[in-house]
Amino acid sequence: MTARGLREPPAAKALLILAAVAYVLLMLILPLGAVLFEALHKGWDAWWVAVSEPDARSSIRLTLIVAAISVPLNTAFGIAAAWAVSKFDFRGKAALIALIELPFSVSPVVSGLVFVLLFGAQGWFGPWLQAHDIHIIFALPGLVLATLFVSFPFVARQLIPLMTAQGRADEEAALTLGASGWQTFWRVTLPNIRFGLLYGVLLCNARAMGEFGAVSVVSGHIRGETNTMPLQVEALYNDYDFVAAFAVASLLALLALVTLALKSALEWRYRGELAAMH
């Protein structure tokens, strides 16, 4: 086929672009705009009051704590899993990859329920936990566990294809040059995967902060104590306190925008190096 045959008529091109832009406007920009509009339509003062009242502050703090615990843990696990899967051959590798992806295919409600079944008052370990006065469900540990579960595949999934494509040659070169396994990891493997890793961490963080279903099951919805930001949004919305609900929601939306901006900024900042690596 000639290049001429591949060229589409200008009308079709314009139509395609128009359709794509309209879709983005309708599905992404409009809802995001609606959140910001609702949050601010009674003015900045109302917004500030809504996000700074004690229950809202508590939900923000809780969300940050949960993310601060679960994101580093899942990052460490994700690197270890991706390293094992991509650099070594072992029995059950395909099964491990499938297991890593499991949280994506399980409904978040089920993910939360699993922990209630394990650690709830009627759960497997419930009586023992109660006897020792350890609180997991309806407390911070339960929120962290549920968040760990649902945000667990992001880093590993981002790294496995990347590290598999990179192969083992760089690591083998480092070994023949006398580097230990640890030195090889810090000096060769980690720099090779840093952008993929960063992207995975950003996605993992976005999910950890935004998760609703799984944490909803284990939270108990105690305002000022076990409500994370997404749960607080729902609680306020159910109270018909729309300004406050959208104010907290606008913070979550802001987080998404910051994540996106951070990723773009890093890609721009290191564009020379990114190009040099290929």
């Binding site: 083998e172 070994l175 023949t176 040059l177 006398g178 060769v188 090779n192 190009a275 040099a276 690596m277």
Partner: protein, 238 residues
């Protein structure tokens, strides 16, 4: 340093990659492992480097049994077919890598490492390229960097896996001569893998011809050409 391979075998699942190979390579010799793809030549080289484990047999470097030694402690230099240069490091950082990772007690001073890098850049005709990144170099230059990097810790044994495989004919010829010169100057014991018999005959003191995991003939090029050991050898070199 001399190398002795004693009855080494290695198989991948059911198919034997190397079966009962024995070779003795003298100190200072330049040996080619020659054979078609799948003959086991690369596997044998990787076993020597410690990147693969043999199932049977022993490997000796001089008087030292290195069969169970880690790749990192064998004191060899290894040059990979596709260079395996570290893309996020400059040429100078690539070359000094082997020195930078040494334990503090035995690591040379920074000035000494810099001087060593300059010396190696000169040896491989790369003077002035230290601050470039690998992606800014041609294939032949990259392979020179890989060679310089492998030589940084002053290994006595140099192993090269199809070192010229990815290069065009003119660059191959230049690099062959440069490699032979460096081998002689540093009095290394070198082994390189190739599937090109002309390259093997031009460069090596002795050629080991492999087919299906075993050595068919191990002799100087003239002897292989004059008296091929069997039908495989005469077919492969014609």
């Amino acid at each position: 340093m001399s190398i002795r391979v004693e009855h080494v075998s290695k198989s991948y699942s059911t198919y034997p990659a190397i079966s009962d190979v024995s070779l003795t390579i003298n100190d200072g010799e330049f040996v080619a492992l020659l054979g078609p793809s799948g003959s086991g030549k690369t596997t044998l080289l990787r076993i020597l480097a410690g990147l693969e484990e043999p199932e049977q047999g022993r490997i000796w470097f001089g008087g030292r049994d290195v069969t169970d030694a880690q790749a990192s402690s064998r004191g060899i230099g290894f040059v990979f077919q596709h260079y395996a240069l570290f893309g996020h490091m400059t040429v100078a950082q690539n070359i000094s890598f082997g020195l930078d990772v040494m334990p503090r007690s035995s690591r040379p001073s920074r000035a000494a490492i810099r001087a060593r890098v300059e010396e190696l850049l000169g040896l491989t005709q790369l003077a002035g390229y230290g601050e470039r990144y690998p992606s800014q170099l041609s294939g032949g230059q990259r392979q020179r960097v890989a060679l310089a990097r492998a030589l940084a810790r002053n290994p006595r044994i140099l192993l090269l896996d199809e070192p010229f495989g990815a290069l065009d004919a003119k660059v191959r010829r230049e690099l062959r001569q440069a490699l032979r010169k460096i081998h002689d100057e540093l009095r290394l014991t070198s082994i390189f893998v190739t599937h090109d018999h002309e390259e093997a005959f031009e460069l090596a003191d002795r050629v080991a011809l492999l087919d299906r995991g075993s050595v068919q003939q191990f002799a100087p090029p003239a002897e292989v050409k004059a008296e091929p050991a069997n039908a495989f050898v005469s077919a492969f070199i014609s």
